[in-house]
Amino acid sequence: MASHAIEVKNLYKIFGPNGGDYVDAVKRGLGKAELNEKHGHVLGLQDINISMPAGGVMVVMGLSGSGKSTLIRHINRLIDPTAGEVLYDGVDVCKMSDNDLREFRRHKTAMVFQKFALLPHRTVLDNTVYGLEIQGVGKAESEKRARGWIERVGLKGFENHYPNQLSGGMQQRVGLARALTNDADILLMDEAYSALDPLIRVDMQTVLLDLQKELKKTVVFITHDLDEALRLGDKIAILRDGRVVQQGTGQQIVLSPADDYITAFVKEVNRGRVINVETIMRPLSGNPEGMPLAMGTVLESAARAMTGAHVNAAHVVDENGRPIGALDLPTIISAMVTPTSHEDKRAAA
């Protein structure tokens, strides 16, 4: 099944009894605070335009109240928009009939929740088959598929446990297995790892990345953690007060933050693990020197390899092994430390 992209276009969400009446006012520049004070409505999302790559991980990042959970709920329409479109494979999810929407949710989407949202009275296996049961797949077939995914997420042997008998990390593995068993194209992860311990979180990120390598689903991942966003996201959108502040690849965001808000986030990031060698290499002049580094190597790995090999210079090679650029250790190190301009901004702020 080929994955399809999701296009979010001009999406507005205004919470309140007459949200629709204020869309035009918001478009003309009515602010969130004013809308709340004068009209008693809450501005959830405004003018969201994101195209989520097919078969890639789209991360939506923002602090609490930024509207990120509201946004992800528009993709399977757990929340109805006030205005705008959510297009999947050319169809506007927001205009689907109840029946079409149910079919869309059953076959095209699967969701993982922050607080797991497992059924406490069902075992791990019975929780995992839930989506297939709703679709009407036979018991034997759905259990076979569910067992496969339970094993893939590392819960073999726990099929007959109840969620309460598992730790948070294990419960979220059940949540993931439940979503994957659905075999849906879109995987929606709403702060799926936010409730987990840091170590287990990294562990679960690895699980997702490994699975994604072969599954190539269109993943929408919500998080408030920039490190998580940078690790997982093929594309990242940063939300603030219901508005997209910046979107692009992790490197674009780290290297050229759009404003002070994002700069403040970015300066805490371990740049060595985000920036790739090809981003900072200079054009090749003459013969390639030193050791070869594959495209896509992050600076930290490059520095480790070069210091290990006691060389100061290296060249970057593409997937065919052809040299495409050169760099040396000082360049790498200066790119790894936070630029002074960012520090200045912090001092000023």
Binding site: A110, L119, H121, Q165
Partner: protein
């Protein structure tokens, strides 16, 4: 008082009641209207509730007619299978033997049959209404005051129309008991469904559940502990009400209590009272233990 009234206009001093003639006329009209209604539709209503009568009679003759040892073994078996608790099981056997020894076995069987039928009917009526209430705020706002009236209206008052329609007998008794015992069933079903975790419901929606699938897979199972508490309450209230219902012809322990009150039979009154307490405790402990067993999965084993 009189001194204040001397300065106040009479209207503010003596409550201006509607005059007696009008009230008498209204009362007569309503009473006659209702009597007319009973005369023309009484037979039809009797026919409609006839199956209840059969069911009651059948169960009563089954309970009373079977050898006591069969009933005792059956009860002990049901209690054990429900509670899986040896103490409750032994307690049940001992209470039933004590009841038999003081000569109340048959009366207890009659009461047991009555309570069983009342509870089943209350559940059959209560759960669907509770579900409807949970699904719609409007239904809730209509049903709630009705339940308030059912619970606070003195039972003797609604015995009047029940007796006028059905006369004296088991079925009117049953209806009176159900009116009294069904509100907790409805209320707790409604409450249980409304308390189901919103995120789990959202997950059910996200996987494309239909309304029925959501009810069957999520709402009812998660509301079950509360619904079980409702069933428990309903049983207790039925047991309390069978005594009052004995005034309109329900037999069993309640009838004995009524006779004891009329004749000041101190010992008879208490023996029958304790027999009621005995079966109340059996029902209560068994249904609670059963409810807990259904919730085994919620025991937190992992810290």
């Amino acid at each position: 008082m009189a001194s204040i009234c001397s300065v106040l206009p009479e209207l503010l001093c003596k409550f201006p009641a509607i005059d007696d003639g009008t009230i008498r006329l209204a009362r007569k009209t309503i009473d006659d209207g209702f009597k007319g209604f009973v005369r023309s539709y009484g037979d039809a209503i009797d026919t409609v509730v006839q199956p209840l009568q059969w069911f009651l009679n059948y169960l009563e003759s089954l309970f009373v007619g079977s050898p006591w040892i069969v009933i005792l073994v059956l009860m002990v078996a049901v209690v054990y299978l429900g509670s899986r608790n040896i103490n409750i099981t032994i307690g049940t056997a001992l209470s039933m033997i004590a009841i038999g020894l003081v000569g109340l076995w048959n009366d207890t069987m009659i009461t047991l049959a009555m309570v069983t039928v009342c509870t089943l009917i209350s559940i059959l009526i209560g759960i669907p209404i509770g579900i409807l209430m949970a699904r719609s705020d409007r239904v809730q706002s209509i049903v709630n005051p009705v339940l308030d009236v059912m619970q606070t209206m003195p039972s003797f008052v609604y015995l009047i129309p029940v007796v006028m329609i059905f006369g004296i007998g088991k079925v009117p008794g049953l209806i009176a008991v159900v009116i009294y015992a069904v509100p907790p069933m409805i209320r707790l079903t409604n409450l249980g469904i409304r308390l189901v975790d919103q995120e789990v419901l959202e997950a059910a929606d996200a996987f494309g559940s239909s309304a029925w699938q959501k009810l069957k897979n999520v709402q009812m199972p998660l509301a079950l502990p509360t619904i079980m508490a409702g069933i428990n309450q309903t049983i207790m209230m039925s047991l309390a009400m069978v005594v009052v219902a004995s005034m309109i012809g329900v037999g069993g322990l309640g009838k004995n209590v009524l006779q004891a009150i009329a004749n000041q039979f101190f010992t008879v009154g208490f023996l029958n009272g304790f027999a009621l307490v005995g079966i109340a405790i059996i029902f209560d402990r068994t249904s609670q233990a059963f409810g807990r067993r259904l919730q085994k999965h919620s025991e937190v084993i992992h810290g």
